[in-house]
Subunit: 303 residues, 2 copies
DNA sequence: ACATATTGCTGACCTTAGTCAGGTAATCCG
DNA sequence: CGGATTACCTGACTAAGGTCAGCAATATGT
């Protein structure tokens, strides 16, 4: 799907659908929002109020989440304060420059009202539809969200010793311990030193969604022998979004770039979805090529 | 799906999905549009340029399509003119108050550039996905669009002698002529006079989408006898969106309001999707109750 | 202790996207 | 023919949303 040069007819149709979708959805939702949320309050103040009126929040956190300019947010907060909807005071945190916004009772009531209107807006979308259509719409919306989200995942090289990498690996070992019938002790497993997962001997990649690390994978290069993939893990919450496949593709590409003719890996029989993914990605089962105690299956893929 | 009072758990989940969808889609598409379409030109001028730069258009048509204030559009056109992207001149039409906007070569090039960026934006959504995911996304987007569109259809009483009604009925007869093996001659069919499809003897309803009539239906009330549904038609382009079902529901409701205990109708064997719809709506086949020459099946539904 | 960075605040300024009232020329209607 | 209406234009005005520079207070690294 290169954006350049000759686009195939299918790509063309897909792109047209996405464009039509963008147009339709923004105009339809935009019109509805004007209609339902159109209170006397502006969108900006509404968004801030909504963000703040749960449990309160630090000003910088609000700025971060809504992507607002410090000056603009400050003005919005003053205006909410004037209306008696929030109070801003020194934060509980150690840093006494930081300030915390808290909703007043009026603010909480106002947010509840906003919520009510959002619900109404959503209901107005569903209202004219039959039960079957509703179910189909909700399902299709879910699919669109999941896949748009999947498109936001970035897979990139990272330091295997970084905090994010450590967190992923810890989650990975944790999951193995839970899923392997025998439990899992990293000390008993074949366990290359972390620094080997870095150029020139190997590579470590992290998958990120909205900056959060949600998956990882590593590969070791073995000159003329097959490259060796390890430590493939994807967060539960984002499974089925093709993240594993993309991590694997990134590792294979790195192996290819290092002249490897094939990639090997081993895995445990209890990791059924991983095994299915390996097979679907072109891996075929081979004779055991090492004595990893936790492995039941050994795979290889020619590049 | 009443917006008031106790909402069921399923309704709650559906509404939450719609709200999450609205949030996600607007923010994701909004961010992308800023990124890709973020030229030096404002959204307003871009929209006008895009609308105009095909074959040119009359100013009032542009105003209509984009829903702009006359003064605002005038200013946008002056600014496009200053940039040398369009020319505005007296229209070819008879009315010399009307003016026509035409793109210059520069304007056409600029629109092509806008198109290119929209394509890129759409491609950037698809690009990180696997082929299977792309296909699923495009399909789900299509479903969402169709169902959002379906929600915009309004079914309302109308004068059977109005232009819109005539157009629908003409299209209806046309389709019968095409689909009936024997052709169709309205003169040979049981043919109540148009004015009977109005209170108090009957009712005519039109289905509209964006103001355009895209379906119709009529019912005659027969005091203590069953009400009688006629002239059910839905435009090809919007079949499968549940429009027929909603027209039928409106007619049944009217019959109920007039004290009818049941509704009857007859139809031709070649109208298979209509027959399926009647059955799915609770109609059961009965003995012929009239001598309509074009009918093969007679149906009744208890209200 | 000192320089530098960060956090939040304020005032000045800007563009966009409108609305509204009124004006002019052309057209339509009785 | 005259009055109403229509199509477009202009000028004045507004609100929202946002940028930018600079300030004061506080934190942090050396």
């Amino acid at each position: 799907m290169s954006a350049r040069a000759e686009t195939s007819a299918e790509d063309r149709a897909a792109i047209d659908t996405v464009r039509a979708f963008n147009r339709m959805v923004t105009s339809r939702i935009g019109a509805l929002e004007d209609h339902y949320l159109g209170s006397d309050r502006s969108l900006g103040t509404s968004r801030v109020l909504w963000e703040v009126a749960g449990d309160g929040a630090e000003v910088r956190a609000v700025r971060e989440r809504l992507g607002l300019d410090s000056g603009y947010l400050s003005r919005l907060l003053r205006s909410l304060e004037r209306e008696g909807l929030v109070t801003v005071e020194a934060a509980a945190s150690a840093d006494s420059r930081v300030r915390t916004v808290r909703p007043t009772d009026a603010g909480r009531a106002e947010r509840a009202e906003l919520d009510r209107r959002s619900d109404q807006l959503a209901a107005s979308v569903l209202e004219p539809l039959s039960d079957g259509q509703r179910a189909r719409l909700v399902e299709a919306m879910g699919t669109v969200m999941r896949l748009l989200e999947a498109g936001l995942v970035r897979v990139e090289p990272a330091d295997a010793a970084s905090d994010d990498a450590r967190r992923c690996l810890a989650a990975y070992y944790d999951e193995l311990a839970r899923r392997f019938p025998s439990g899992f002790d990293p000390g008993r497993s074949l366990h290359p030193d972390t620094h080997e997962f870095a150029e020139p001997t190997g590579l470590f990649v992290l998958a990120r969604l909205h900056g959060r690390a949600i998956g990882c994978g590593a590969v070791l290069f073995h000159d003329d022998e097959p490259a060796y993939v390890k430590r493939m893990w994807v967060d539960d919450a984002v499974r089925g979004m093709g993240v594993g496949r993309r991590i694997l593709a990134a590792l294979e590409q790195a192996a290819r770039d290092h002249g490897a003719a094939s990639v090997t890996l081993e895995t445990n029989a209890s990791l059924t979805e991983a095994i299915a993914m390996y097979r679907a990605s072109g891996y075929v089962e081979v004779e055991p090529f090492n004595d990893e105690v936790y492995a039941d299956h050994w795979f290889e893929k020619r590049l």
